[in-house]
């Protein structure tokens, strides 16, 4: 601890925590930009990264919705699915708005056009759901969104004539480049750019007065309303905003960027709980924390598919080798569960949250305004520290 304190003092006196944080962030960005150009990396590694970027968008947007705005929704995967399914169906069948005389044929709409329509529809459904949820809080809100997500999943499963049921819906490919390596490189940068743009947009919202209102809503809706926060407006706003982000991410990811088809099983509550787990492990009150948690978790879940175990004490296997490969199967999820248990028990704000806050130089402030807020009621000494 003394070593850490000395390190902390040296950093504060030298480059400064925040600068060091920016420096490290810059290095991470450079790494991601350089990665696909590393000739030793196969397309598989890029695929894992693309998947990691997608889940980073999912987890960080859920962190905005639940961790910052306090709307504990289980409907996130459903909104993602709406974006993807609508984009796929529009590109395949077109659509007609009879009253307005609008007719879009499959030939006249591009993959990008379909993705935009998917994103807008996800936002519109988010608007309706946000409006319906106005008076619901906590467990009721969670139950409502579970019901909505299941309703959507079952609809996609049952209407297999249109959606392909569990065989899935194949979306129009967004990148039509014949050369596989080049295509994968483009897909990688596209998904990475989407993650950065989404994070910047969400960061902008969180660090604006709107972000403050959202946090106020999370702490106490009635108090926020009494202080003049238009709770109705911001509740709907955050639902529409996050729905559009995940709708866009889903429509792009399943347009053969990360996967060539979406299936209803992808919208199950189990998959949603994984998104929540990623955000919790990273830190659900931090966009970067949740995104990093999702990326690292996805990477680890892939890396742990096969674990090579070297035998200790000079022990050997029957064939003379001193190591064996463990195909982990479902066990890697059990190990992942252990990390989750550890996080919830000992680091409720996520494994990455303390690191991010340390670099931002806000660790003490955040500790006093978020993590320990309930303890202050019991401990006047801590309450005094709040004013520092």
């Amino acid at each position: 601890m003394a070593v850490f304190n000395r390190f902390e003092t040296a950093i504060d006196a030298g480059i400064g925590r925040r600068r060091l944080g920016y420096l490290l962030l810059g290095l991470v960005l450079l790494f991601f930009l350089w990665f696909p150009n590393d000739a030793s990396q196969s397309n598989y590694a890029k695929t894992v990264f693309i998947s990691g970027f997608f889940y980073a968008i999912m987890a960080s947007s859920w962190a905005l919705l639940a961790g910052i705005a306090g709307q504990f929704s289980f409907g996130h995967m459903a909104f993602m699915g709406i974006g993807a399914y609508v984009a796929g169906l529009i590109a395949r069948d077109g659509f007609i708005i009879a009253g307005l005389g609008i007719q879009i044929t499959p030939e006249s709409i591009s993959a990008i056009g379909a993705i935009i329509v998917g994103t807008v529809v996800a936002g519109l459904v988010g608007l309706v759901i946000g409006w319906l949820l106005l008076r619901l809080r906590a467990a009721y809100l969670a139950l409502f969104t579970i019901a909505f997500a299941e309703l959507f999943r079952i609809a996609m499963l049952t209407e297999y004539d249109y959606t392909g049921g569990s065989n899935g819906l194949s979306l129009r490919p967004l990148i039509e480049v014949a050369e596989v390596d080049t295509a994968r490189q483009i897909e990688y940068y596209l998904m990475f750019a989407l993650l950065i743009v989404c994070l910047l947009l969400m960061y902008r919202v969180v660090n604006s007065p709107i972000g403050m209102f959202l946090r106020a809503m999370r702490e106490d809706e009635d108090a926020a309303s009494a202080l003049g926060v238009n709770v109705v407006r911001y509740k709907i706003l955050v639902f529409v905003f996050t729905s559009m982000i995940v709708g866009l991410a889903g429509a792009i990811f399943y347009s053969d960027v990360g996967s060539e088809r979406i299936i209803p099983e992808q919208l199950e509550v189990l998959q949603m709980s994984l998104i929540i787990a990623y955000a919790v492990i990273g830190g659900m009150e931090s966009l970067i924390g949740a995104a990093a948690g999702a990326f690292i978790s996805r990477y680890m879940l892939e890396a742990m598919r096969e674990v090579v175990i070297t035998l200790p004490f000079g022990l050997t296997m029957a064939d003379g080798s001193d190591a064996f490969t463990w195909e982990t199967g479902a066990w890697r999820f059990a190990l992942f569960g252990l990390v989750m248990v550890f996080t919830l028990r000992y680091m409720r704000n996520g494994l990455l949250y303390p690191i991010i806050n340390w670099f931002s130089g806000r660790d003490l402030v955040m500790k006093k305004t978020v993590s320990k807020r309930h303890d202050w009621d019991d401990d006047p000494a801590q309450l005094e520290g709040r004013d520092e």
Binding site: P106, Y160, S259, Q266
Partner: protein, 445 residues
């Protein structure tokens, strides 16, 4: 005397222990193997939301086949023996994960061929990866018609996904269209015209029910469909509704899988709804796993069920041997997808031997097309492919690189606790084992 006998017994025992490793070494070392081990990638669902039980059986079957091939000196290429190893990748039943795992197997593990796949969605999503990387592939369980359809253009408005045709993908499981008609044809042949379908609300249940319903209605039968969620435990309200009808239906067809189907069948039998003198009970292929079936459906005698895969009366020596190994491992009869996965390894191994290469994808594909091999599920061959590219008028496109003879039958129990191996095959007529198309409850064939 007694002490001497004890001494002699000890000596004999020691001699056995001393000789055992030598014997094992000889058994292990009777083949000289090349340094390079041929690696086959197996895609199977080993975690949720995939069908984990199916994935475990497929993983076991592929590795058992590799072990059996290695015990017989592996794959011989140009007179040199190569050991074969199987690496199973967990597809999780998800196209997205399946794609990633397929790439890992091909690019990181550098497999020489691929096999397996349980879920059709995973098969459809991974085909492009196998094609792009030119990996000879034998799918052993996905049923979707498009899996083996040549030059399929699933997405309208986009160029064909495989403009040059599906060169590298083969399938030895049946296409959905090959399975759907058998139960309906059987029931229509019995003259039923009032059908109740109890259907699970899943990808398996809904399309299967729609297909059967259309076939029944086309033949003039009346069909009522009742949807249920997987995991439902109490079916009494549904069954009471059926009982309250003025006339009992001719047949209750259960299109529900797993434990839920067993619960439903038991409650139906217990209430006397079906099987009965008036109503035929038709459950699904999971009833063939008789250990599980009788443990949860003790009153389910005289229920019929469809079976995909070779029927017990036609089990070859290879099938009997495989079944014995499976029973030893899992305590039940080997399911068709495990047999198909086992056979897929042999088909690839045989093709590599005939192609004289484990790297020349075109030669291996050509050799698979020319397969003529008797394995656990029967004689394997591929009627249409590069060797015979012109599908005659009316032949469905899925027949490309498709094994044409997967056996689909209807079977029926007629004794409580009966093994699936002893159940009567009642349809099609050509496979009948007890000379009847239906065993009326309370009678013996």
């Amino acid at each position: 005397m007694k002490r001497r006998r004890m001494f002699m017994n000890c000596v004999a025992l020691l001699a056995i222990f001393a000789l055992l490793p030598i014997g094992m070494a000889q058994a292990d070392g009777h083949c000289e193997f090349a340094d390079y081990t041929i690696t086959l990638g197996n895609l199977a669902p080993l975690s949720a939301p995939g069908a984990v039980a199916g994935g475990i059986a497929m993983d076991w079957a592929a590795k058992q086949a590799a072990a059996d091939i290695n015990a017989d000196c592996g794959i011989q290429i140009d007179g040199v023996n190569h050991q074969v190893a199987v690496v199973t990748g967990d597809s999780e039943g998800s196209p997205e994960r399946g794609q990633a795992v397929a790439e890992r197997l091909i690019l990181e593990d550098e497999v020489d061929a691929m096999l397996g796949v349980y879920h059709s969605a995973v098969g459809l999503a991974t085909m492009g990866i196998m094609e792009a990387n030119q990996i000879p592939t034998v799918f052993s369980e996905p049923w979707n018609d498009n899996v083996s359809a040549n030059g399929i253009r699933e997405f309208d408005g986009a160029p064909p996904r495989f403009e040059d045709g599906i060169d590298h993908i083969f399938r030895i499981s049946p296409a959905s269209s090959m399975v759907g008609s058998v139960v309906v044809d059987w029931l229509l042949s019995l003259g039923v015209d009032d059908v109740v379908l109890i259907v699970e609300n899943t990808d398996y249940g809904q399309p299967a029910a729609a297909d059967e319903k259309a076939r029944f209605e086309a033949a003039g039968a009346t069909v009522s469909q009742i949807d249920v969620e997987l995991g439902t435990e109490d079916f009494v309200p549904i069954l009471s509704r059926i009982q309250a009808r003025a006339e009992a239906p001719d047949v209750i067809r259960i299109i529900v899988t797993g434990e839920t189907s067993f619960n439903l069948t038991q409650q139906m039998s217990e209430l006397g709804v079906a099987p009965s003198a008036d109503t035929i009970c038709v459950t699904n292929q999971f009833a063939f796993q008789s250990e599980q079936y009788w443990a949860t459906v003790p009153d389910g005698n005289y229920c019929a069920f469809n079976r995909v895969g070779i029927i017990p009366s036609l089990f070859s020596d290879a099938a009997v041997a495989l079944n014995a190994k499976y029973e030893m491992e899992f305590g039940d009869i080997v399911p068709s997808f495990a047999m198909a996965t086992y056979d897929a390894v042999y088909i690839i191994a045989d093709a590599m031997e005939r192609a004289g290469s484990y790297t020349d994808a075109a030669a291996i594909v050509g050799a698979i097309e020319a397969t003529d091999l008797d394995l656990s599920q029967g004689r394997y061959y591929f009627r249409f492919g590069g060797h015979n590219p012109d599908l005659p008028e009316g032949t469905p496109e899925f027949m490309w690189h498709q094994w044409p003879d997967p056996i689909v039958t209807v079977m029926q129990y007629f004794e409580p606790g009966q093994s699936g191996l002893d159940a009567a095959v009642i349809y099609p007529e050509v496979y009948q084992t007890h000379g009847t198309s239906y065993i009326v409850p309370g009678t013996s064939p």
